[in-house]
Amino acid sequence: MAIRPEEVSEIIARELAGFEKQIEGVGVGSVLQVGDGIARVYGLQDVMAGELVEFETHHSGNITGMVFNLEEDNVGCIVMGSVTHIQEGDTVKRTGRIIEVPVGPALVGRVVDALGIPIDGKGPILSDEYKYVLSKAPGVVDRQPVKEPLQTGLKVIDSLIPIGRGQRELVIGDRSTGKTAIAIDTIINQRGQGVFCIYVAIGQKLSTVRQVMKTLEDAGAMEYTTIVAATASDPAPLQYIAPYSGCTMGEYFRDSGQHALCIYDDLSKHAVAYRQVSLLLRRPPGREAYPGDVFYLHSALLERAAKMSDERGAGSLTALPFIETQAGDISQYIPTNVISITDGQIFLETDLFNAGQRPAVSAGLSVSRVGSNAQTKAMKQVAGRLKLDLARFRELAAFAQFASDLDPATQRQLARGQRLVEVMKQPQYSPLTMAEQVMMIYMATGYYKGSQGDVNRPSVLEDLPLEAIREFEQGFLQFTRDRYPDIAMDITAKKALTDETADKLQAALEEFRGQFTYEAD
């Protein structure tokens, strides 16, 4: 960065000239009680709900708080910092402002806390633009249905549960089922796609957040990503605010005709933080001790994801909220709430995960209600039968253990299903382009919807043992990248699989199959 010294002094001089202190009376109150991230304040007449206040501490400067509860004789505030420095009797000042965070390009590549304050040690964030954190979602007339895909780079999601830009798709599963892994892969895959990513980490361990940051950095994905972190060691109020802050940063892109993706990892911990704050401020507890407005808590957040109308610049904000379930129970309060707010869910299962089926997406329980409008034609052409085949396979799978007693037709179907499932597996940090995914799915099924109708060819995987499939897939990817790059290029350019390209692909597959050897053990 090059700044001329004279420029600096000029700016400072100008700012100072315009800086004339006017002493205005501000509303104040005093702290009655403080602890657990909240403070009760006496005074503060005429203060507004949601207004920011400043606690003047004796030793650690000013600490920001937010008015949360207005009661008859006191004001309940949540404290956005450490309450240990606040004492009974400390002065609390009104600011007249509502909570806001910096937005804009200056945030890209940064790690910030829930208030937008940098915590990555890379200097201050130079942004003139601040936006209200708790703003409202765009109205119906400002929106349009989703139409562009948001590629996760994961075969199983992009083919079966496609996500569109502007959609809200829930990722739900027990702990350690690969939720965060999906977030990371999706972010990595946005490289060069013109989608700004905001990863909001709520209530996670600091070490986990650091790990995510490092992974994204190594993958070059921080270039278009912002991390908003409110870790488990941060006060509950900050965890409560964090997703709204992240969302606000994403909205900047949405409203300037660009695209953004917000990932909230995860909203279960967010709800817990909100419950803590609410209970401490004595809001009446309801089901599972959550306050009555916990539904609104998440709907207000997720409604802000939108595909904007053309008049509004056609930008988009996609939301991927995460929910952690207990023992796969999706009928608990928070999961059911969020399921009902979102446009579908990606359900991750521990059993699948442990059986090595990773990403552990349950094809049967996952849906995307609007994303198929946004799926590229090429993907639709090959994925059409995939869903059906997988469903049929799940029915048959129960009989798989009696395989030897089954008739040959059923055995063939079983074998075919197993191969499909095998191809749905994907290691971490290796997202595939849309074209590559189309090729892989065609490889597995031998099916595509051609110009003359369905085309069914025997899959080249049919006579391969299951163990060799992963290797074959890798090998074939490399093979086409080296020898037939035009296949992927054609699919990418046309966004469709032409008969001609499909034939080329088939020929390439057969050629590679002919030279492919594997060690049979």
Binding site: I12, E15, L16, F19, K21, I23, E24, G25, V26, G27, V28, G29, L32, Q33, R40, Y42, G43, L44, Q45, N62, T64, E72, D73, N74, M80, T91, K93, R97, E100, P102, L115, I117, P124, L126, S127, D128, Y130
Partner: protein
Amino acid sequence: MPDVRVARRYAAALFNVVVRENLLDTVERDLQNIIGVWGEHSQIDETMAHPRIPTPVKQRILRQLLEAQVSPITLNFLLFLLDKQRLDLLLAIEREFQRLSDEHRKLVRAYVTTAVPLPEDQADLLRQHINRETGLNVVLVPTVDPRIIGGVIVRVGDRLWDGSIRGYLSDLRQTLAGTRY
């Protein structure tokens, strides 16, 4: 936690009695003294809050401590609070009582913070000024706090005027750095 609502009710009750009995000055002074002594000797608070010390003992202690010092009505009030297990509200009650009595006397308290002790002539000016603004009699409550560097901070009721150098500098910092928090 000090329950303001409850403190208010106790304060109002005491206040009404005291005004009727024409003992406002006495009781006000009593309460201030008690708060002062309480603050200096933390054992009193500890003893009164101690769960293992039986109430009759606490009553005896209170009597011995205060009988000769305060008016019977104040002492009775304290014993009453003890009986109701509300002694912990004393500070809040005193504050509330003070407020009621100020209101009664058409009096306003201005809390003035300066870096060095405020000279009497300037204090007078300040008093006159606030009197003009509020139309109430002004009692200045001065505090000296060198950390504000210079200037003055005045607080009247729920409003605060910060004319301190510290406030000025912190505003300047925010303006230059463009930070909000």
